[in-house]
């Protein structure tokens, strides 16, 4: 008489399928990793054990990390390379200050340095300082309105009304537009696009949005949004929309994570973001696990997220390349480590 197997056949089959699925996912993630590993560099802020934030350079897959700053008395935050990747703007904030995930542009001072964060020059407060397309000017957002500074002289060249903008003002790569978070008609946290030449503006996305940024084509905007169609507080997701407004599209969502820090690779094919278990993007604590995905794979839904999957039945499961805990990453294809 043949003894009955101790593990039923169905269970074995299930385990085999699960192992195969995990292996397949690993393979797709590995493919993504190899695809981006040598595509330039990412600069980001990483919280140090001693409590401050330093700028860290890494490959887009998270490898070859090296500190660009090492200053226990200061936190360096929100770095952005100039359009030619020869210089770097970031904020210098006194160590011990809790960095606000949505008001960091008002904190500390703006610093301009070379691409490797050397020879930094403190420029002053200049809230939300952001490069112009040719790197000769910087836009700022403050109570006074939108100011455009001449980098060479440090003088204000132009001042515009801020039209409801209150945070996160970013200049489009083609120089024609601003995007930012604004008060519009009693609604909070609305993403607005403004024509730099005329000051005319339009709504990109209404209701509970923040941290917008431009696609390289200057036609689309990436932003975080916490939609109303969720139970309770809900989860913040990564979305995109045309600059002129209209059909929005979710890029990445995951029940149990708040998705912030959305940014594109220079060619617009890859998306960087952070997955924070608590709302706020991680700057108030120790950063949040970074992620990288292909734009072509969007929308992707992470983890089980059953409610979200019902809303987006066609969403993919991945691949998403996990990056270290970080905050506000920025990507260049230029080899900034080379002597230039």
């Amino acid at each position: 008489m043949t003894p009955k197997p101790r593990v039923p056949l169905a269970a074995l089959l299930l385990i085999t399928i699960l192992v195969a699925a995990v292996a397949a996912e690993d393979k797709t993630v590995e493919t993504l990793r190899r695809e981006v590993a040598t595509k330039g560099w990412v600069v980001t802020s990483i919280k140090q054990k001693r409590g401050d934030w330093d700028l860290v350079l890494m490959r887009p897959d998270g490898s070859k990390q090296r500190k660009l700053t090492d200053t226990p008395e200061w936190s360096e935050a929100a770095p952005r390379w100039s359009p030619d990747s020869r210089r770097l703007l970031y904020r210098r904030i006194k160590a011990g200050t809790v960095i606000s995930h949505d008001r960091w542009g008002f904190q500390g001072e703006l610093v301009m340095a070379d691409a490797m964060a050397r020879n930094g020059r403190v420029m002053g407060k200049h809230p939300w300082g952001c490069w112009s397309p040719d790197g000769t000017q910087i836009s700022c957002l403050s109570l006074k309105g939108i100011e455009i500074l001449d980098v060479a002289t440090g003088k204000v060249k132009r001042r515009m009304k801020r039209a409801g903008y209150f945070q996160q003002l970013f200049w489009s790569p083609d120089g024609k537009w601003f995007c930012g978070t604004a008060n519009v008609g009693g609604e909070l946290w609305t993403i607005v696009r403004m024509d730099v030449a005329t000051g005319k503006w339009n709504v990109v996305s209404r209701f509970r949005n923040c941290t917008p940024d431009w696609f390289p084509d200057s036609r689309r905007v990436i932003f975080s949004n916490r939609p109303a169609n969720q139970k309770g507080y809900g989860w913040t997701q990564l979305w995109m929309a045309p600059g002129q407004g209209g059909q929005r599209k979710m890029l990445y969502g995951e029940d149990g994570r708040h998705i912030y820090g959305g940014g594109l690779s220079p060619d617009g094919r890859y998306v960087l973001f952070t997955r924070c278990p608590k709302d706020g993007g991680g700057s108030e604590r120790s950063g949040a696990p970074g992620g990288l995905m292909r734009l072509a794979d969007a929308p992707i839904i992470g983890a089980n997220s059953p409610a979200l999957r019902k809303l987006h039945p066609g969403a993919h499961d991945g691949p998403v390349l996990a990056l270290p805990d970080l905050w506000e990453p920025h990507w260049t294809f230029t080899d900034v480590t080379a002597s230039r």
Binding site: D102, L143, R162, F166, N183, G185, G186, L188, E284
Partner: protein
Amino acid sequence: MSESTTPETDPAKDPSSTDPESVRNGSAAARWILLAVVVVVAIAVTVATGVRSGSSNNAPGGTVAATPGQAGIQGQVTTAGRFEVTAKLMELPGAFLPNDGLYNYAFVLKYEVLEVHRGGDDVGKIIHVAHYNPRKTRSEVGDEFYPDLGGTVDRFRAGDVHRLAMEEPWDEHYIGPLVDRYHETTGKRLYWGIWSNAVGEER
């Protein structure tokens, strides 16, 4: 000796004596005392009437427990901003958003002005005031971004009377999210609330 309890009293200095001269002196003193009492009472009545009439003139919707004028003067309420009023919070237009320290915002509230202390004729009878992080007590509302805010108001309740120090236009003093449930009210003047002291509550 039951006739007198003060047998040692000199009959000549006894006020109850029937001596005509002492009767005349006693009557004069009594008149002076009575006059003084009348004057004091008259002054008290005048002052009380004046204050009462001032209150009712300034509070058409009802009287308030504390009165405008000197009430609510604490902290920087008399010096902060260009405008200072005593005003009644007319209503709460819906619930305040959560304020867990992560998100900060200002919330627009509607007031009926009872008395203008500073700012003159520029201040209308109905005003709208943007209060920063309204879930927080005013004594704890100041932060890294808006350190000059303060006051004694612990929480905002419809009908309460506040002494407010304010600025205008609001967006030259505050840059941040604004919850404005009166956004469809055209032509309203919106002030930035700097200092908010409790004066009393509507009876």
